[in-house]
């Protein structure tokens, strides 16, 4: 039975922690794949992500900063995915983040960042030619788990916005190869900062900051088998509004943060230990605006718990 399940599972829980550091725009790719977990099965995962950057973009001007050195972000996450039905999954993630600047005097920050909860729905599936085409809708909400300060970038652990997003995903798999594309729209709430006035392109006398909305487009392709997955992912994140970091200024949460990233993802399922899987991968920012040129590596351990009665022979 477990082997059969893996047909479904070999990819539902991929990269979560692409918390691209400078941008702090969490990008949980678990929510961006075409794989569903069957009814009454729970998958738990522990994930570690290490990301860092030396160069960043002030607007379009790429530079480094002797007062930051290398900005490092470590994220430790607990995640879960449960099949409500065969066509509807619920997912969550709880990340704990620490930051550090290797040079300068700014003190690194740490704390629980934002809880994410998603619903993933297999809306449509059909055979086309020799493969299977599927259409998914994924709704996600995130909410800050602690009272961390967002306006202390680049060492803030996040942007402290409550978000709601909707993602559409199409996937086509033929044999062991697949291609997938996804589009996501993220609505972000205003945030509250510790200051009661701040400058964007003008002085604003409020402790509330308007956060422009974000889109993400993603394309992935690769290989899926019972035991092993490998795929390549290209993604484009765009902030629709906001402003550029001025020359030699500090970043601000409502900056126009954009980035193009390329990543790889691998996953391995043990045939001798039923339900145990390992995942690993990395991402690199190819081009950006008001973000760090982050490179991250992650690794995670997944375990499947089958609560479905029919499995108990």
């Amino acid at each position: 039975m477990i082997k059969f399940l893996r047909l479904y599972f070999n990819r539902y829980f991929v990269v979560i922690c692409f918390l691209s550091l400078c941008s702090k725009i969490a990008n949980a790719q678990t929510n961006a794949d075409a794989l569903m977990i069957p009814q009454n099965v729970f998958c738990g995962e522990l994930m570690y992500d290490h990301s860092s950057w030396q160069n960043y973009w002030e607007g379009t001007f790429k530079r480094n900063n002797g007062n930051i050195g290398t900005l490092t972000n470590n994220t430790y996450s607990v995640m879960g995915n449960y099949g409500i039905t065969n066509k509807l999954d619920v997912l969550f993630g709880i990340p704990y983040v620490t930051t550090n600047a290797s040079r300068g005097t700014l003190k690194g920050q740490s704390g629980f960042q934002d809880l994410s909860i998603s619903l993933k729905w297999l809306a449509f599936q059909t055979e086309i030619g020799k493969g299977i085409f599927s259409l998914h809708a994924i709704a996600e909400g995130t909410i800050p788990l602690s009272n961390y300060e967002p306006n202390f970038l680049p060492v803030s652990i996040g942007l402290h916005s409550t978000t709601a997003s909707l993602r559409g995903l199409v996937n086509y798999q033929t044999g062991r190869f697949f291609v997938a594309g996804a589009a996501q729209y993220v609505q972000r709430s205003d945030i509250t900062i510790d200051q009661d006035a701040y400058y964007t392109t003008e002085e604003i006398y409020s402790n509330k900051v308007y956060m422009p909305n974000v889109t993400n487009f993603l394309f992935s392709t690769g290989f899926r088998s019972l035991q092993f997955n490998a795929e390549a992912i290209i993604s484009q994140t765009t902030t629709h509004g906001g402003f550029d970091i001025r020359k030699n200024d500090m970043p601000f949460p409502s900056n126009e943060m954009n980035m193009t990233t390329a990543g790889l993802l691998f996953k391995y399922s043990f045939s001798k230990v039923a339900g145990l899987e390992l995942t690993a991968g990395g991402n690199h920012v190819l081009d950006g605006r008001n973000v760090g040129q982050t490179t991250d590596f992650f690794g995670g351990v997944l375990y499947l718990f089958d609560f479905s009665k029919k499995d108990k022979k």
Binding site: L119, A164, S206, N248, M250
Partner: protein, 517 residues
């Protein structure tokens, strides 16, 4: 079947939340909703108040107004009537904005420009830093770099020039005693009426003085400032509060008074405050000669100290010998136990920050890209002044008192910083990480503490019914620098003392300037 309904309802509901939900997206600027200025007292005797620099208003040229029966005046009235017959919503918004008060709005505009230009220059390829140049202001880095001392001086000149210009305006208002156009038939009053004679216009006097002094202080912003001034002039006409002739006369008078301030500003030593490499080295030599560890820039690449000769700028409220007299005794000696104890205390705040302390640090950070601590105190003053229903001239007088104190305390603080030229806590112990950017100048005494105590002293005198509100805020601002691990406790405590002493000079002036409290 139930499941199918769930499948449809759920995504539809979620997409409605995502796409239609307003998602808490309304940032309201608290300065946008001020009511139109309605002075509880028009301060008709303000022509007898003690000005800052000018001595005799009658030396300025303000031609007699056009006779109300003249074709020129009738044409001016028709201009008002034409506007009022077809006001657009944009024009109504301009009236709503400016009616809160000329001094208030220009102070905000100045804060805006300070924040915009408060950015330390980016380094050259060889690790040196370019300096802004007032003779070539548009080249990078643009002139000015409106850091805290520069900003304190800018706020002081603008406020003091506005104040003197309004005193001069009152002289001519009473001389010509012209009633405002909204008292005439066919002209509506779109703002509260004032009994103050309207020639020359007090709004235009403030605009004229501000534009003229800002040409010196923010030369790259002239077009923006002139556009704002034109908008304000238009507001007075649209509101029925002034005819164009009153505005033209007011702008001219304001500009003439500002010239007196501009002449002072050109000769107040601020232009030389950046110093020379030889002078920077001499500061190290002086401190080393005393056997003390001298300040080293903690920036990378190492940045020259911020305006090391600002302590030689000529103050408004006292003379330069008083600057020396106000200079506190030395900080704890580098090798003393008291110093080691202070460093250990800073380290403990660095290593164990509470969220409450961090919030205090960030609230008062007022670092690069902000309107600076003096700007923060101008903003605090604004929220209080706006409740007082001051006349324009009292707004100007109170801001002038506040900002002359801020400039003079900047001079005293910078004199002290560069006289002792001592190290920051992180230089003494590199394990001290900071909760805000570490300022690029010596530690003793804390600028925030000086600025805040001086401001609190002035504001407490002006608004005694606020009790300890301003003193409490000043103490919070000062302590935020210790919590942020960028200052020793003695920097904070001694800075508060000096700040309060400087504030008292402004209070003394206020007690004898003829304006009452």
């Amino acid at each position: 079947m139930k499941r199918h309904i769930l499948y449809i309802v759920l995504p539809v509901a979620l997409s409605a939340i995502v796409f239609l939900g307003s998602c808490n997206k309304t940032v309201i600027d608290r300065t946008s909703s001020y009511a139109a200025l309605t002075p509880s007292n028009i301060d008709l005797n303000a022509d007898t108040w003690k000005p800052v620099l000018i001595t005799d208003p009658s030396v300025f040229t303000v031609a007699a107004p056009d006779a109300v029966t003249s074709p020129a005046y009738v044409a001016d009235l028709n201009e008002i009537k034409a506007y009022q017959s077809s006001l657009t919503s944009d024009q109504k918004a301009i009236i709503q904005y400016w009616s809160a008060g000329a001094v208030l709005r220009w102070n905000e505009i100045l804060r805006d420009l300070v924040a915009k230009h408060n950015l330390p220059p980016y380094q050259n390829a060889d690790g040196t830093y370019p300096a802004p140049s007032s003779t070539n202001p548009f080249a990078y880095p643009q002139f000015p770099f409106s850091n805290p001392p520069y900003a304190a001086r800018a706020y002081a000149y603008v406020s003091a020039a506005q104040y003197d210009a309004l005193i001069a305006a009152y002289h001519f208002k009473k001389l010509y005693n012209r009633a405002a156009p909204y008292n005439l038939a066919g002209v509506q009053a779109l703002i509260p009426k004032s009994a103050l004679p309207s020639y020359p216009s007090e709004d235009a006097v403030v605009a004229g003085a501000t534009v003229e002094i800002m040409k010196l202080l923010f030369p790259t912003e002239i077009a923006y400032i002139e556009q704002k001034a034109a908008e304000e002039i238009q507001y007075r006409i649209m509101a029925g509060a002034n005819v164009r002739g009153e505005l033209t006369a007011g702008e001219s008078l304001g500009s003439q008074v500002a010239d007196v301030f501009a002449a002072r500003a050109r000769a107040d030593n601020a232009g030389k405050a950046i110093g020379t490499p030889a002078e920077w080295t001499q500061l190290q030599v002086n401190t080393a000669a005393k056997g003390e560890a001298y300040w080293i820039s903690l920036e990378s690449p190492s940045r020259p100290p911020m305006l090391p000769l600002f302590g030689k700028v000529i103050p408004f409220l006292f003379d330069t010998t008083t600057v020396k007299a106000l200079r506190p005794g030395p900080p704890n000696l580098t090798n003393s136990d008291a110093f080691k104890k202070e460093v250990a205390e800073v380290l403990s705040y660095s290593q164990n920050p509470t969220r409450e302390h961090q919030e205090q640090v960030e609230f008062w950070a007022d670092g690069a890209g902000t309107y600076t601590p003096p700007g923060h105190w101008n903003a605090i003053a604004e929220t209080e002044f706006v409740k007082q229903n001051y006349s324009e001239v009292r707004w100007a007088r109170n801001y002038a008192l506040l900002n002359m104190a801020e400039m003079d305390v900047a001079i005293c603080c910078w004199d002290t910083k560069y006289y002792y030229f001592n190290q920051r806590p992180t230089q003494a112990n590199p394990n001290i990480k900071t909760l805000t950017g570490i300022p690029n100048f010596p530690s003793y005494t804390s600028g925030h503490s000086n600025f805040s105590a001086a401001a609190a002293t002035v504001l407490t005198y002006l608004l005694p019914d606020r009790g300890t509100k301003f003193t409490d805020l000043a103490n919070q601002a000062a302590m935020s620098r210790l919590y942020g691990a960028i200052h020793y406790r003695s920097d904070v405590e001694v800075g508060l003392t000096t700040g309060a002493a400087v504030g008292q000079y402004a209070v003394k002036r206020a007690q004898s300037d003829g304006a009452g409290n």
